[in-house]
């Protein structure tokens, strides 16, 4: 097996907060021992709610700021010991795209200048060469330097801003792009355009992606593998087909259930009693990351929790009671790991709703 592009080992990130205005102070345990790999050309999506630590995880990988403990090995180099110029060089191959396209672009700079800056930083001194490269980069993201080049961020639509942010990320010729909720704030039609663009760039440039999202449906189309995160820990990680088609962690199932589905229109509006998330309507808020629950952190919300869950932290492993990896309908496929003492065994395929919609002949599969 070839070396993965990125290896994160036991990353821990904590922030001290002062108590004020009725809030208790303490240490926010944002990321607690997360390990994951990304292979070259692969897309891994990290999904979780607000406060699950998914953005902090992405920043820890970028070393911005470096994690409290744990190690990131990127392209064979450990980033732990790197400082200053060496860190900047290593980080150049890892670029980030953010959620809000307007605030992540300098409002006073023209599009050309925004995209040219990483080139200048990389030492491309020749003006003409730089301009030519900016033209190529903008073309790659579907913009035209003669039309969009002189514009400022406020003169662009949200989708165009996000394209500029992508062009800026590409300017450094990265191997890995970290997209932190990069399409969440866009309209659906624009969202589809940007997702298609990112997919196209993946194949043409051989990029790897780390997608951060709160909605499992949003990353379904782009993901090779999916990791589900809750309060700083991974609940489940595995190949996308496995996690979506054979979810084993109760939290993954809750996330899948919560996705509003167009295919449900076939059933008409349902009475409240049939809607998901009923049992959790009051207990549903995540526990505090300042004082996370003992044992399994999801246990305070989990319908399957028992006393063992409070006493023992479940490790991320191949779920117990299944055969060797990759066997049997009740087992899990290779690389599918779950952190749960009582993983679900017989879960109906939640993506199976496609059957009803396919009958109608209007499926957009």
């Amino acid at each position: 097996m070839t070396e993965p592009l990125l290896q994160a080992r036991e990353l821990v990130q904590e922030f001290a907060v002062r108590g004020q205005g009725g809030m208790r102070g303490g240490v926010v345990q944002a990321v607690s021992g997360v390990s994951l790999d990304i292979a070259g050309g692969e897309t891994l999506s990290v999904v979780g709610e607000t406060g699950s630590g998914k953005s902090t995880l992405a920043r820890s990988i970028m070393q911005a700021p470096p994690p409290k403990s744990g190690e990131v090995v990127f392209q064979g180099t450990s980033m732990r010991a790197l400082r200053g110029a060496a860190l900047r060089d290593a980080r150049r191959s890892m670029q980030m795209i953010f959620q809000d396209p307007y605030t992540s672009l300098d409002p006073l700079w023209s599009v050309t200048r925004i995209v040219a800056e990483p080139l200048l930083a990389a030492g491309m001194r020749d003006r003409g060469k730089r301009r030519q490269r900016v033209g190529e980069l903008l073309e790659q993201v579907g913009l035209d330097i003669s039309v969009h080049g002189p514009r400022r961020a406020r003169e662009l639509s949200g989708g165009q801003c996000q394209r500029v942010a992508i062009a800026r990320a590409l300017a450094a010729s990265p191997a890995l792009i970290i997209a932190d909720e990069a399409v969440s704030s866009l309209d659906v039609l624009v969202q589809a355009q940007v997702l298609n663009l990112l997919e196209g760039l993946r194949t043409s440039l051989g990029l790897s992606y780390l997608f951060i999202a709160h909605d499992l449906a949003l990353v379904k189309q782009v993901s090779d593998r999916v990791a589900v995160m809750y309060l700083g820990r991974l609940c489940e990680i595995g190949p996308a087909d496995e996690v979506y088609g054979n979810p084993r962690h109760p939290y993954t199932v809750e996330l899948l259930d919560a996705v509003p589905r167009v295919e449900q229109a076939e059933l008409g509006k349902r009475p409240a009693g049939e809607l998901p998330a009923g049992a959790l309507s009051t207990a549903g808020d995540p526990a505090s990351p300042v004082s996370p629950p003992s044992g399994c952190r999801f246990r305070t919300r989990c319908p399957r929790a028992q006393s063992r869950c409070a006493a023992e932290t479940p490790a991320l492993t191949v779920p117990a009671g299944t055969g060797p990896a990759g066997t049997g309908p009740a087992g899990t496929g290779p690389g599918h790991l779950v952190a749960c003492h009582f993983p679900l065994t017989d879960v109906p395929d939640v993506t199976g709703h496609e059957i009803t919609i396919k009958e109608s002949g209007r499926s957009a599969s």
Binding site: D187, R261, K269
Partner: protein, 371 residues
């Protein structure tokens, strides 16, 4: 009035609505009386030194008691401008024409003072960002009590009691303790519950939810939508849901109104719409909704281009420049928005074929480069 009945059953004001509209409890039942009737609503803005912008043109729909109507559209489609016009929340520079009646009372042209009687009392609104809708320097309980006292003549103690009841109604945990907390001490979902409690404080006949769950996590969104559905069954109120998410409408609305460039392009009961999409724009929106049954690394169906500039004169169909089915007629003549089948309205010269059976072979042209 203390509204003591609110937690157990319909509050006093809601009871009158419920009495007037029999059979509203079960969704498939007969339609209740119309709460909100919007006829030919148009909103124009005239920014200084620039061309007039037609944000909304000729919008018509109605919302019956106990039902949910979803207005779906992208940014700039006029969905928010139209809902603000109903509430009288647009700036003075906006020119609003047409008719908006709430249980028979015309709201357009009312003086700000008489409008204030309806606003909050009969129509309430919840917004996208609960953090910005609440006063950060004031405890949440007194904010609700203040809303109660603004519309009802009750003592401070009774208003406090009512606020705690409302917290129970929206299922905030430890309601008496929450009363004395500040907005920053609550999570996003809890803040939205507080906003809903405030909106329900006078048992409104109509609740306008403007992207009320957009900023929330999917799990919180599911819980808030379930809560709203439960409250609707309990109180019989009408809900007008403004959203960009067709998936949300598919799950939680009875009827869907699709807006594009300030106009209604399709309107139908939810099942009919998703079964028999006729307008290519709706179909494009539907194709782009993130779905769990989408295979990895397959391109999403996309429509190129952007919505038209609303300050320019639009002779034909506003979607024509982006529409894969557009013919010559579409550029110069606007298709009428007409009821082609009972309850199913759309504006299109070349609609998609009707019915699930007819669709299979012939829905190709609307899905550019999809297969």
């Amino acid at each position: 009035m203390t509204g003591a009945g609110a937690a157990a059953g319909p509050g006093p004001a809601a009871a009158s609505v419920a009495a007037a509209g029999a059979g509203i409890a079960s969704p498939p039942g007969p339609t209740g009386p119309t709460v909100l009737e919007v006829r030919d609503l148009s909103v124009r803005f005239r920014p200084r030194g620039r061309d007039e912008v037609r944000a909304v043109s000729g919008l018509s729909y109605s919302v019956p008691a106990g039902r949910t109507v979803a207005i779906i559209g992208e940014s700039g489609s006029g969905k928010t401008a139209s809902s603000r016009a109903i509430m009288g929340l647009l700036p003075r520079s906006a020119q609003v024409s047409g008719s908006v009646t709430l249980s028979g009372t015309e709201l357009i042209g009312l003086s700000p003072r008489s409008l204030r009687r309806y606003r909050g009392q009969d129509v309430a609104m919840i917004f996208q960002d609960p953090a910005r809708s609440l006063n950060p320097t004031m405890k949440v309980g007194p904010q609700i009590a203040e809303a109660v006292r603004a519309h009802q003549k009750v003592s401070r103690a009774a208003a406090r009691e009512r606020a705690i009841e409302l917290f129970q109604l929206v299922r905030l945990s430890a309601p008496a303790q929450r009363y004395n907390e500040y907005p920053h001490q609550l999570s996003g979902g809890m803040r939205q519950r507080v906003m809903i409690a405030m909106a329900l404080s006078c048992s409104p006949k109509l609740l306008i939810a403007d992207e009320a769950t957009t900023a929330l996590d999917v799990t919180t969104q599911a819980r808030i939508m379930r809560l709203l559905t439960e409250l609707q069954e309990q109180l019989g109120m009408a809900i007008l849901m403004i959203s960009h998410d067709l998936g949300l409408a598919a799950c939680y609305a009875d009827e869907v109104v699709v807006m594009y460039a300030g106009r209604t392009v399709e309107r139908a009961p939810v099942r009919e719409l998703f079964r028999n999409v006729r307008m290519p724009y709706t179909s494009a929106l539907l194709g782009a909704v993130p779905r769990l049954d989408r295979a990895a690394h397959t391109p999403l169906p996309v429509v190129q281009g952007r919505p038209p500039d609303l300050s320019a004169d639009l002779a034909g169909c506003p979607f024509a420049p982006r529409c894969p089915r557009a013919g010559e007629k579409c550029a110069d003549r606007q298709p009428p928005f007409a009821e082609h089948k009972p309850g199913h309205w759309y504006a299109c010269w070349y609609p998609l074929p009707d019915g699930p059976d007819a669709a299979d072979g012939s829905d190709g042209p609307d899905r550019e480069g999809q297969r």
